[in-house]
């Protein structure tokens, strides 16, 4: 009962936050210079043409009326039609989402693999050379911009040693695995930079904890010790971070999608801004915000289920 009440309250907060996000976005988009009519008609459009198109798009009405109309449709689950694509925003995003989803899953997989490997190594060899090297790696990952890492990876592994295609998504599972490797690696390098430090710290704390010492005293060693007693206790903060990374990737990896020609949500968002496609930009931003808020809520609930000490209030 307490849990249901908590969920109800949190869902209420989610809705209020989403409303705030929608209002903020709407105001910000109104403040942007230029407009969709000018973007669609080009420089040679006459003022009469611009006015006529604004009327056609309903953009000549007062801003408040436009917002009320938008919210009315939003409540009914209608994100409107994209001005540029002339199709429902949900359909346009739906077309782009699979590519972004595949990339996000791949990034999480690569990040998990590299984070667990390197963080465990660093924690295991704490204070030694390998630990110092691994602790320095995240600085490089954070310090190098994604577009540069992506460009270098493309140059090395698509042109010089053509193991991977230079952008795009190939068909089929194997094709996707191959073609998305470099973009996923680009993002994973940045993501792992943060996760490795987090997991290493957690592993060190747990490795020195009493229950691990007890387990070791009982003869438990190696991978079994790590998998059964260390990682589950050390990984909770890292898993939380990973969840947030995954959800934020669903909003589109703007630069990496562009560099690797991935037809995902990030590219849609960039084009939407360029073309003043307000319904599309609003749709992507709102769905991303909703995903982040709901995943946060889910994480809190899962926490309480996994760890009895965490209570939902």
């Amino acid at each position: 009962m307490q849990r249901l009440g908590y969920l109800g309250r949190r869902l209420g907060y989610v809705l209020i936050t989403l409303w705030g996000v929608s209002l903020l976005l709407f105001v910000m988009l109104q403040l942007l210079p230029g407009g969709p009519a000018e973007a669609m008609l080009g420089i040679t459009a006459t003022q009469q043409q611009v006015d006529a198109l604004n009327q056609e798009l309903g953009l000549d009405r007062p801003v408040v009326a436009q917002y009320v109309d938008y919210m009315g449709r939003l409540i009914r689950g209608d994100l409107g039609d994209s001005l540029v694509f002339g199709r429902p925003v949900v359909d346009v995003i739906g077309d782009a989402l699979p590519a972004t989803l595949k990339l996000a899953v791949y990034v999480v997989a690569l990040s998990t693999l590299s984070t667990v490997t390197l963080a465990t190594l660093a924690a295991s060899f704490r204070g030694r050379a390998i630990d110092h090297v691994i602790r320095a790696l995240p600085l490089i990952g954070v310090g190098m911009p994604g577009f540069w890492i992506g460009a270098m990876l493309l140059f090395l592994f698509a042109l010089t040693f053509p193991f991977f295609p230079a952008g795009g998504i190939e068909e089929g599972f194997a094709g996707a695995l191959r073609s998305l490797f470099l973009p996923a690696l680009t993002l994973a390098i940045s993501v792992s930079a943060i996760l490795i430090r987090s997991l290493r710290r957690g592993l060190i704390d747990v490795l020195e904890s009493d229950h691990v010492l007890t387990a070791r005293a009982k003869g438990l060693r190696g991978v079994r010790l790590v998998v059964r007693h260390v990682l589950p206790n050390a990984a909770i903060p890292t898993v939380t971070l990973m969840g947030l990374v995954f959800v934020s990737l669903l909003g589109g990896a703007l630069i990496v999608e562009s560099v690797f020609a991935i037809p995902g949500v990030g590219q849609l968002l960039v084009n939407g801004f360029k073309r003043h496609d307000m319904p599309l930009v609003m749709g992507i931003a709102l769905l991303s915000a909703a995903a982040i808020l709901l995943v946060n809520l889910l994480i809190d609930v899962v926490y309480s289920l996994l760890d009895p000490r965490v209570s939902l209030r």
Binding site: M40, L53, L113, S124, L159, F163, A166, V230
Partner: protein, 523 residues
Amino acid sequence: MPRPERPGRGLAKRFVLLCAPVLFMAAACGGGSDDGDGGRDGEGADAGAGSELVVARARDLESLNADAITASREGWETYELIAQPLYMGNSEGDLVPGVASEYTVSDDQLSWTFTIRDGITFSNGAPVTSADVAFTIENAQEGPLQGALYQAITSIETPDENTIVLSTDEPNSGLIWDLAAYPVAVIPEDFAGMDPEEFWRTPIGTGPYMVETWSQGVEVVLVPNPHYWGDEPALDRLTFRPVPDENTRMLQLRNGDVDIVEDPAYAQLTTIEADGTLDVVEFPNPTAIFVTVDTTKPPFDDVHARRAVSLAIDRDALVEAGLRGYGQPAGSFIAASAMGGHEPEFGLAFDPAEAAAELARSATPDGFTFELMYDPAVSSVTAAVQVVQANLADVGITVELNGLDRDAQQAKRDAGDWDATIATIISGSDAGGIFQYYGSTNGFYSGSQLMSEVESEWQASNSDFSDGGRLETYRDLVTRIAEDAPQIGLYSPTRLYGTGPAVGSVAPRNPTGAIDYAAVVVN
């Protein structure tokens, strides 16, 4: 005495052994799919071996709706391969028959009668009739973006299945050029019974190709129209893919993933030229890059100040610096190729001494400072404004460069907070539309005496149906505008492509320098 084991030391060795191979496996797993299920490598290879080409574009195909594609060159250049108007502009800037085989204009110059080409059919096999043409034009007139272009047509009659008569209230010699544009490319009556949204996803027309598949953001695949009335299209399959990053486009070309890249960056032309298997292809392009100034306030309310700027600019140096030689100097805001294919000497040629003399005659004889806005995303412009800045400094005019995107520039213009900006206009086959804009309330030079003259003389030229008569008027107007210098022509870039080894030869399809994919030669 044995050294006490630190927590985790023993397991570390095992972990290295366990995890290191997994990282390698991830790459090997992906790399092992070379012989997998038809990825891009397969298509690239096919293009070299057969009659398939893959083209990489900077932007996605957003729509194929004939009205909506006006702001998207990718849109209209793809649509022109699918649907054709009554008449079409060819690469020489001349009109050639399209869906119509001939036309006549009545003695009073108010009625245009078109005869539909014998036996012509749509890609679905249905014959093209006058009812289809009438529907197309009526549909275009209702278009929110391009409809204004066709309001001059006041009645449409279809006396028989092969004849269509269009009437106007006033003589309009430029109408034939408006009818040679993509918004009136002929489509079946009532969208062939399809829902309009569905129709515009896979339009039906009379062009050499038709849409096989279109996955938004991924690719659009065209295949030959089996009922095409002209020569059999050269390609069995033509794929356009959006690749936004210019470096990635170039890598894909060098890798053979694509066969043609549109608009390679100027900085990458050296790479293409140096690669023995790649080529740079250039076609004329009716695009003019020019400076437009605020003539309502100092310093540019003074014609001598404007002329001084125009005379001080070395346009040959601009072409070299900004375009690496791939373009022509432009003395006007209308590209020479839109003026009937000639290259007249518009504008004020580079003459620093005369520029200094004009400056001395101006209200600011000791020179002046002005802000020049430009879009830093356009590499050729970024290079060109540096040359302009240096040229003008030589005669005592200081240019403060301000890189802003188009929207920010427009906001400053709307607020009246601007001196000068770099602008671009892509002309149609006929320059008349540009003059229409010039005289509009949103135009360059509102309220001036020159604008009034331009507007009235352009209107008068609509009654001129003589060969070349209208073009003479255009040239005269452009020359007078150039000498008054509210717009100062800089350069006209050529249309560029990078082509891979699969491409034998290509030719332009129309005056805008689009490739004629129906006649491309594949190695």
